[in-house]
Amino acid sequence: MNKEELWQAILSQIQFNISQANFSTWFKNTYILSKDNGSIIIAVPNNFSKEWLEKKYNKLILSGLEELNERVKTIEYKVINIPAPQVPKVSNKSGLVTVNQLELEELTLDKYTNLNPKYTFDNFVVGPFNELAHAAGWAVSQKPGLAYNPFFVYGGVGLGKTHLLQAIGNKVGEQFSKKKIRYVSSERFISGVISAIKNQTIDEFKNTYRNFDMLIIDDIQFLAGKEKTQEEFFHLFNVLYEANKQIIISSDRPPKAISALEERLRSRFEGGMITDIGTPDFESRIAILKQKIQEKKTGISEEVLAYIASNIQKNVRELEGALKALAAWKQLHNQDIDLELAKKILKKTINPQPKGLNPQKIIAVVADFYNLKEKDLFISSRKKEIVKPRQIAMYFLREELKSSFPFIGKKFGGKDHTTAIYACEKISKEIMENEQLAGEITVIKEKIYAY
C-alpha cells in the first residue's frame, strides 16, 4: 500500500469515529509526507490542525494504522503551508477601476531575475519583420551561452525588443531554473555603477554581476558617453564571455551607429549575432492586434482592427494604445464600437498634431543623438563629425518643418541657401544607398516626435 492509499484507508475509518464537521475541518488538506522505518510524517495545513491532530486524534490515527497492520512507532505532524482559502469578495468596488489606471509595474517583476513574467515567446507575434530575431532568440534560449554570444537586437521604439529579451530570459528560467539570470536596463546599470563608486562597493557590485549565468541589458545606447560605466561593462563583458555566459543586448540602433561608444566595446558587440527588428507589415499588425484582443478579452470588429492596422504603422505600442483606448471607451459607455465611432475615438492617436515642433527641438535631438553640443552644429567647421550631423539637421528642418532653404542656411551660422539645398539633397540621396544612415534617420525622427 503506498502513502496515498494508506492515508485514504485511515481517513475512511476515522470518519466513522468523529463528527462530519470535525472531520472536514481537521483532516482537510492532510496527507502523509513520508513513511519509513516505523515513523510517519503527516502534513497538515496549519498550526491549528497540527495541535488538534497531535493532542486529540493521535490515538485514533495510531489505532487506524495498527488495524491496517502497519508497524508505526512515532507519528510526527508538520505544517505545510497552503495558501489561505479564497474569501469571495462581497462588494466589487474595483470593477470601476478603469482600463487606464496604471500599475506599479515593478511589483510584478521577479525579485531575483528582474524579469516580467508576462513577456513570453507564446505571446510574441512573429512576422517577416522579426522572423530572424525571433529564430535567433529562440536558439539562444535553447542553448544559452553556446548558440549566439553576444546576441544583439536592435530596432525602433515599441517594436518588441524588450519583449523578445524578456521572453528569452523567461524561457531559460523555465528550462534551466538553476541558471542565474539577470535582466537590467542600462539606466539601472549606470546608476548601479554610480552608487557603487559613491559607496565604495564597486568590488561587491562587480562580483554580483560576475556570478550571473545570463545577463540581459536593455537599451545599451544609453551607455553612450558614460565612460566609467562603459569600462566596468567592458570588463564584465569579458569575464562573462570567457566563461561562456550568455549576454543579450538591445539597442535602438546597430553598434556602429552608437556614437560615443568605445571602439573595443563596439567590436565585442559585433563579434556575436546582430539582428534587427523592423516595422511590422499590415498582416503582422492585424495578428498583433488579435493577440492583444485575446489577452484583454474585449470584442472589437475586424473592420475596426483593419482601420487601426492601416493607420498605425510604425509602432506596436501605439497599436496597443489604440486598442486600450477603444476598450476603455467600450467599458465606460457599454456600447459596441463601429468604424465611425472608432475613427472618432482614435482621432487624436492617429492624426497627432506635431505639438509645437520647432527648429530648436530638431537641433537638440540631432545634437544629442550624435553626442554633440547644440552649439557645435553652428560653428563653421569642416570636420566630418560635425558636417554630417549638421546636414542631417538641415534635412529635418526641410522635411519636417518645410522651412525655406534661405532660412535654414541663415539658421546655421549664416550659410548660403545653396549649402542648405546641397545638404538636403545629399542626405536624401544617401538614405537610399546607405542602410545605416537610413536607420539613424528613422531613430532620430522617432525621437523628434517623442520629444
Binding site: A21, K56, Q86, V97, Q101, L104, L107, T108
Partner: protein, 377 residues
C-alpha cells in the same frame, strides 16, 4: 468552575475576542468563546482557525474549570447588565450567571471540542510601544490588495533593518511605507528578518492593542507570530494574538519608489483635500481628477468633468519647482493617501504624466505614499 469578576473586565475581554467569531459555518464551536481559569484570572479565547485571540481578566477564582458558550449571547447579555460584580458558575454544559437581582443560564458546548490555539514558543522577540506602533500600522493597512490573486500582496509586509522597522502595503496601484524607529528591547532578531502578516490579523492587532498604554511583545517563528500585551498586576499576559504568516516572497518594493523627480510641489493638505473632494463630484465612473501643475505660475489647476454631470475647475497656489505637468489620478487613491498624513503641508513629487508620484508629509520623513496616475486619454 466558579469565579467572581467585575462586569467591566468581562465586557472588555469579550469585546476584544468576539470580533473574529461568526465567520465559520462548518464548525459551530468556532462561534463560541472558551472560558477557563488560570491562576487568579479568567481567560477568554476565540479562534477562526487563522487567528487566535486570548484575554486574561483578574478574577476571584473559587473553583477551577472551563466551558465554551456562544460569544454573542454572552456579550449581548453582559453589555446590558447594570451591576458591578458577576458570579459565574459552570455545571456540565451550562453557564450560570448570578448577580443580586438576576439569574441567567446560557447553554454551551463541551470545552474538549474547542480547538487548541497554538502558541509560539520562541526566543526571537521584539518589543514596541503599543500606541505608536498601532498608529503606524493603521497608516498603511488599508492599502493592501483585497484580492487573493497574489497572496503576498494581500498582507502587510514587516521588515527589520538595523534599528528600524518598515511596514509596507500595496495593491499595485499605490504603495504605502511607514518607518518605525526601534527603541524597545529585542532578542534574536537579525537585520534581515521579515514577514508578511495577513490583513485580518493586522486589523485585529490594531483593534486589540491600539489603546494599550505600554509595550507589546512580538514573538516570531517561521510560520507564525504571537503578539502579547502585559499589565503589572498579573503574571499572565493581558491579551494575546496568534496568527499564521503569509507564505511567499514580498516583491522588491523599494525598486518601485522613485528617487528623482521632474516636478516637486509643496501644498497645504486640508485645502488640497477639499479641492479633490469637490472635483470628485464630477469625476464620474472613472474617478478621474486632473491636476495641471505649473511651477512657473506657482499654481495647480484641479479639474474634472463628466458627460452626464458637468465639470469643475479650481486653482490653488503652490510652492513648486521643475517641469510643468498634466496628470490624472483616481481621486480615491489620492484622497486616501492624504488622509493618512497629519502634517499641515504635504509634498507631491512627480515624474511626468505616466510615472509614479510620491506623496509625503512635509515634516515627517517616516511616511511615504507612492501613487500611479491614470493614463491620459
Amino acid at each position: 468552575m466558579k469565579i467572581i469578576i467585575l462586569k467591566e473586565k468581562l465586557a472588555k475581554g469579550l469585546s476584544i475576542v468576539e470580533k473574529i467569531t461568526g465567520r465559520n459555518l462548518t464548525l459551530p464551536i468556532l462561534n463560541n468563546v472558551l472560558i477557563s481559569t488560570e491562576d487568579n484570572s479568567l481567560r477568554l479565547s476565540t479562534t477562526d482557525l487563522e487567528l487566535g485571540i486570548s484575554y486574561w481578566g483578574l478574577a476571584k477564582v473559587e473553583e477551577k474549570g472551563e466551558i465554551t458558550i456562544p460569544v454573542r449571547t454572552l456579550s449581548g447579555f453582559v453589555s446590558l447588565l447594570g451591576e458591578e460584580k458577576i458570579t459565574i458558575e459552570s455545571k456540565e454544559k451550562t453557564l450560570y450567571l448570578k448577580g443580586e437581582n438576576y439569574k441567567t443560564q446560557i447553554k454551551g458546548l463541551d470545552s474538549k471540542d474547542f480547538p487548541i490555539i497554538p502558541e509560539v514558543v520562541s526566543d526571537n522577540w521584539i518589543e514596541f510601544d503599543a500606541i505608536s506602533f498601532c498608529r503606524g500600522i493603521a497608516q498603511v493597512m488599508d492599502f493592501c490588495a483585497l484580492t487573493q490573486s497574489r497572496p503576498e500582496l494581500s498582507g502587510i509586509y514587516f521588515s527589520f533593518q538595523k534599528n528600524i522597522a518598515k511596514i509596507v502595503a500595496t495593491d499595485s496601484f499605490r504603495l504605502a511605507e511607514k518607518t518605525i524607529v526601534l527603541d524597545g528591547a529585542m532578542n534574536g532578531i537579525n537585520n534581515s528578518q521579515s514577514f508578511i502578516l495577513p490583513r485580518n490579523a493586522v486589523r485585529e492587532l490594531v483593534n486589540i492593542f491600539s489603546e494599550h498604554n505600554g509595550k507589546i511583545k512580538f514573538y516570531f517563528s517561521p510560520s507564525q507570530v504571537m503578539i502579547e500585551s502585559y499589565i503589572d498586576e498579573t503574571q499572565n499576559p493581558q491579551a494575546r494574538l496568534v496568527s499564521r504568516l503569509i507564505e511567499g516572497e514580498y516583491p522588491d518594493y523599494e525598486a518601485v519608489i522613485p528617487k528623482e523627480f521632474k516636478t516637486q510641489i509643496v501644498l497645504p493638505k486640508e485645502e488640497f483635500m477639499s479641492q479633490i473632494k469637490i472635483a470628485s463630484l464630477f469625476s464620474g465612473r472613472t474617478n478621474e481628477v486632473k491636476l495641471v501643475i505649473s511651477p512657473k505660475k506657482g499654481n495647480v489647476l484641479i479639474s474634472s468633468q463628466s458627460v452626464d454631470l458637468g465639470e469643475t475647475e479650481s486653482k490653488m497656489a503652490i510652492e513648486a519647482k521643475g517641469d510643468d505637468v498634466e496628470i490624472s489620478f483616481n481621486y480615491k487613491f489620492l484622497y486616501e493617501g492624504l488622509n493618512q498624513m497629519r502634517s499641515e503641508k504635504i509634498m507631491l513629487n512627480l515624474n511626468g504624466q505616466d510615472g509614479p508620484g510620491v506623496l509625503k508629509p512635509s515634516d515627517d520623513s517616516n511616511y511615504l505614499y507612492v501613487i500611479m496616475p491614470i493614463k491620459a486619454s
